[in-house]
């Protein structure tokens, strides 16, 4: 089976009448890093919470490694680890006790060697005897990750993992995510830091107002929508794009003071050299030129804007 997680026609309407998810269909491939992007309130956390068993779905079903999360909740849940967005920890427990507790809760027999490995990887080993309330926010975040990894999950959910996290922890977290992926763990992260998705993800899904509006390979998404533009600021304004430049995707901007050339970043031949020579031949002079690349952020903003 190639899909480790299969979400089918999932819907959620809260008691207040708020429709948080609308007919979401999503298949997650085994071993991939999937980034779920969306603005606040888009339904990211609701989606995760349903898969993890914290929120009941109103419609649809979810299969985790082939197991229905409602009917075969044991088999489904023991494969899943969750790091929630908020720092939710006990105060008086020691780091070691709380991580061991999580392993037991998920039905795994005691394994001190595994707990030690997890704590070491997260730089928590030296703090293992400390009470959680004595730890800093960043350390508490690490404890929550350690808890989620304590039972060796096959699917790991990271809900806004780097929100409010310092640079060092963010870097550690990214390294850890890659390491986990190398070990065969499937990772689904939600984020509104687009650079995070751009840096980490194999595929990207965009969720907006409870609807999954796009799921795409990151590379394909960047290629499809990732356009580069070259803007030439002209000496003399033009009324129209000169006839001799018909073969190029050119537009006039800034009341004819600028000529904008849009090209594909993925192709070898961008055509810039030929265009500049052609402009020279036609006697179109320019003061300066500037290039820009649409980031995932632009893509995202455009997508969401076109929907609303």
């Amino acid at each position: 089976m190639s899909h480790i997680l299969s979400i089918q026609q999932l819907g959620k309407t809260y008691a207040s009448g708020f429709e948080a998810l609308k007919n979401v269909d999503l298949d997650i491939r085994r071993g991939e890093i999937f980034a779920l992007l969306g603005p606040n309130g888009a339904g990211k956390t609701t989606l995760i919470s349903i898969v993890c068993g914290i929120v009941n779905a109103s419609a649809g079903r979810v299969l985790a490694d082939g197991h229905d999360i409602a009917r075969e909740f044991r088999a489904a849940r023991e494969k899943i680890g969750l790091v929630p967005q908020e720092l939710l920890t006990d105060a008086f427990e020691s780091v070691w006790a709380t991580v061991s507790f999580s392993r037991g809760l998920f039905g795994k027999p005691r394994d001190d060697a595994h707990i030690e490995k997890v704590l070491r990887e997260l730089s928590l080993w030296d703090k293992r005897h400390e009470k959680i309330m004595a730890l800093s926010g960043g350390m508490k975040r690490r404890v929550m990750i350690a808890k989620a990894l304590s039972h060796e999950p096959k699917i790991l959910f990271l809900d806004e993992p780097t929100a409010g996290v310092d640079v060092e922890l963010r870097r550690d977290m990214w390294a850890m995510v890659r390491r986990l992926r190398d070990d065969g763990v499937t990772i689904i992260l939600t984020t509104h830091y687009i650079e995070e998705a751009e840096e980490m993800a194999d595929r990207i899904g965009v969720i907006h107002k409870g609807e999954l509006i796009l799921v795409e390979e990151k590379a394909a998404l960047m290629a499809k929508l990732g356009r580069k533009q070259l803007t030439l600021h002209l000496q003399q304004p033009l009324n129209e794009v000169p006839q001799g430049l018909n073969g190029y995707t050119l537009e006039l901007a800034d009341d004819g003071h600028a000529l904008v050339y849009t090209f594909d970043t993925q192709t070898e031949q961008t055509g810039i050299g030929a265009l500049l020579r052609r402009l020279n031949e036609l006697g179109v002079d320019f003061k300066s030129l500037q290039s820009s690349e649409s980031s995932l952020e632009d893509i995202f903003v455009n997508l969401v804007r076109s929907r609303s």
């Binding site: 993890c52 044991r74 849940r77 023991e78 939710l88 008086f92 427990e93 061991s100 998920f106 808890k147």
Partner: protein, 260 residues
Amino acid sequence: MAASPMHFNIHGVRAIYRFEMARWFRTLLSSIASPVISTSLYFVVFGAAIGSRMGDIGGVPYGAFIIPGLVMLTLLTESISNAAFGIFMPKWSGTIYEVLSAPVSTAEIVIGYVGAAATKSVLLGCLILATARVFVPYGIEHPLWMLAFLVLTAVSFSLFGFIIGIWAESWEKLQIVPLMIVTPLAFLGGSFYSIEMLPGIWREIALFNPVVYLISGFRWSFYGVSDVGVGMSLAMIGIFLALCLGGITWIFRSGYKIKR
């Protein structure tokens, strides 16, 4: 969410149980000292000071007569508060997400939390009995029945406390049922007197108090005397236990106050 017959998450139950017991041991002084001290005070005031002027009740000296009632009083309040706090705390701090997302069934969650709360209550009950021995000599006529009443009451009221812990969304609500309902019922349930001593109509009214049956049955296991039949006492505990189990099943089926 039904428990799979093929599998029982023993590690999960053990984890919850240990977690809850560890919480108790962390606050060992207040957990153990306060009921022991308050029971001792009851003995000093009711057993020695007032009791010396009281006659025997049903052939039992007053100091000994109040022992089963005192144990029940502590058992009820401690069972409820322990179990209520045990589940309220993760709900309040948000750490309940982990229990909800774990492969543990309703039954396993309840066994873990309620089992730990009931264990603490039974241990406290035994501790109070030992403390009482310092003040008053007494015997136990039916020790096995005594233990059965002790355990059944601890389990039933821990279940009740668990329901309160889920129902309460504030610290105030957490306190209100034990304080406003259970403590008065326990005091009026014949801890310090036989309901035979109540005047006419009040005796009939007292029979509506479920705690009367608990204390009466428990006292019978000590001294062989009771206000109501032992079978009746057991039936009442059984009904209460069944009601609590039904309530908990409904809570987890519907997700009441824990799942959205």
